[in-house]
Amino acid sequence: MTAVAAPAPQVTRPRPVPWTRLVWVTWRQHRVALAGVAALLGGLALYLLIMGLKIHSGYASVMSCHPVHSAACLTLSGLFNRDYYPFAQVFSIFLLAVPVLVGVFTGAPLLARELETGTFRFAWTQGCGRLRWVIIKLALLAVALTTASYAFSLLWTWYFQVFFTEGLDGLLAQQYFDLRGVDFAAWTLLAFAIGAIAGVLIRRTVPAMAASIAVWTGLGFAVNLFLRKHYQAPLLSTSGTIWENNWVIGQWYTGPNGTVVSQQTIRNVVAHAPGSVQHSPNPSAVTAYLTAHHYTQWASYQPQSRYWHFQLIEGGWLLGLSLILLAATIWLVRRRAA
């Protein structure tokens, strides 16, 4: 069979479908997911707002109590801590799951549902082309979710601020690090990006969600337990006491010759100390005894002053990873054969 005799007419590149029209498409197709996100974040935000107001007014009355060391004021302060602090701690830990819920439940169905139900054959053969279609959807939803979760983390920051001010917790504490600053939004974006690429790879909504949750959670634990402490070389201290809001990473002793010794060795040394040292109510007596015998207590820690530095490092690489995953998703949609 021969090719056409006449050359194919030169097709002038048509003006593409305007972005604004695709915004409507995105809104119409994902408004249910966005409403779900709004309901979840809105409900939690309302709770944070109500409790936050109570906490702040309670704290204001503690602060205005005078004289500070009177029994009445100490009781008031104790009641304040008892009433609000433990529950705020537990509640905040549950909030760590918000980014994955918001991100995965929006991101995973985005492409998986199209591939699962076959509607991608409709969507990808329209005049706008699949490239613009996927770019605008991913971009709009990513921006919407990131903004919403950033706003939510600002609210949580206000809600919990009193307890940080009081020094009850350090800013670098593992259970709160992700809730403040830029990281809450960054982890949300990553969950969305993982969901989106899992959707295009797995092509089924529920398995894609399950896989995304597993990957995100695994990554979250790995960062919290192993990675974050290495963002910057920890400081070393031999003072024996570290301000508690710094993040203590490791503690050990060195012996008279400068090598690390085991806990058992230290216990043996202390066991030979005079009774006055062993039974002293002041723990620094033991430290002083050990120092006198050339045993040094070491601690490595991350000072709280590094909080924003750590936030930016983590937020930065999470953002970078998210963008790579989103770009890979777009590439897969572009290349993916049906």
């Binding site: 069979m1 021969t2 097709v11 695709l22 509607t119 054959r121 005049g127 054969a337 049906a338």
Partner: protein, 304 residues
């Protein structure tokens, strides 16, 4: 200009070839029936044409635009996939609005008028429509885009006979009105007999027959005569397919040039489209266009 033109088009899925060195040039202005058994490569060919699949080798040009599946090409092609996948949770009106927003050209009036004629309510959810109505909606969405080429993959597969008839009637009315080219695939040849004016038979990933229906029917006929003389006739005529039933042989022959008078003792009959397609499909070695290879196959079938 050709609506779809392929050269050496091949597509492999794992170890199986869905298409193998398929060469085609479908001229504009026809309703093209793409037929062949399941697994012949029909869907693969159509998907490659609209950019839903990439060829392993070879080229494809659609409406003279390359590459297939680019926004420039998709702007002028409307594709309705098998089972007419649409968003079931959207209302018909939202489906119209959505399609309008995904395309540069859109004829809202026409879409609404068509749906009105079909009594498909705009406020109903797509998932609540019958499969016939969903197919009609998909066709409406495709036509409202004012395409130059309409590609339909097994549009009739999931429809009952009445819905099939209505669907084809709508399609033919639109073709008459717009003069657009249509390529539709089916494994049920009877459905296409009255509407298609160009035929492509695909078998085992290769193009076996391609040509105008009228011309194909005119240059084929069935000869019925004594089985004993069949081999003798096959020597002289291009036999596409032969069936012997007892002492009688039926030969589907292809005329090269003007139809010669039937040999003595033989009776000639015109062939139908379905008969023609089946004859070629039964013998994958035969092909119309590159020239049929005569062959006589022994068939102990039921006496006629």
């Amino acid at each position: 200009m050709n609506v779809i033109e392929t050269a050496g088009l091949s597509k492999r899925y794992g170890r199986t070839w869905a298409l193998r060195d398929a060469a085609l040039a479908i001229p504009a202005g026809y309703v093209v029936a793409l037929v062949g058994p399941n697994g012949a490569g029909k869907t693969t060919l159509l998907h490659i044409s609209v950019g839903l699949a990439w060829p392993t080798a070879g080229q494809v040009t659609v409406l003279g635009i390359e590459p297939a599946g680019s926004p420039a090409a998709l702007d002028q092609i409307a594709f309705v996939a098998q089972d007419a996948p649409l968003y079931r949770n959207l209302s018909v009106a939202d489906m119209l609005h959505l399609t309008r927003n995904l395309n540069r050209r859109w004829d809202q009036q026409r879409a609404e008028a068509r749906l009105g004629e079909l009594s498909i309510p705009l406020e109903r959810k797509v998932g609540k429509l019958s499969s016939g109505q969903q197919a009609q909606l998909a066709l409406t969405l495709a036509l409202a885009r004012r395409p130059r080429l309409l590609v339909l993959d097994e549009p009739l597969a999931s429809l009952d006979p009445l819905a099939r008839h209505d669907f084809m009637a709508s399609l033919m009315a639109a073709v008459a009105e717009d003069g657009l080219s249509v390529v539709l695939s089916s494994h049920v040849i009877a459905d296409l007999e009255r509407v298609a004016d160009y035929l492509i038979v695909l078998s085992h990933g290769q193009v076996q027959v391609a040509g105008e229906v009228e011309g194909l029917l005119a240059c084929h006929r069935t000869l019925t005569g004594p089985a004993a003389a069949a081999d003798d006739v096959a020597q002289r005529l291009a036999v596409v397919y032969a069936r012997r039933a007892g002492t009688v042989a039926h030969l589907l022959v292809r005329n090269n040039g003007a139809a010669a008078p039937a040999p003595t003792g033989w009776e000639a009959h015109p062939v139908g489209l379905e008969e023609l397609v089946l004859a070629y499909l039964r013998d994958p070695g035969a092909a119309a266009l590159p020239g049929p290879r005569p062959r006589v196959t022994q068939d102990s079938g039921i006496p006629a």
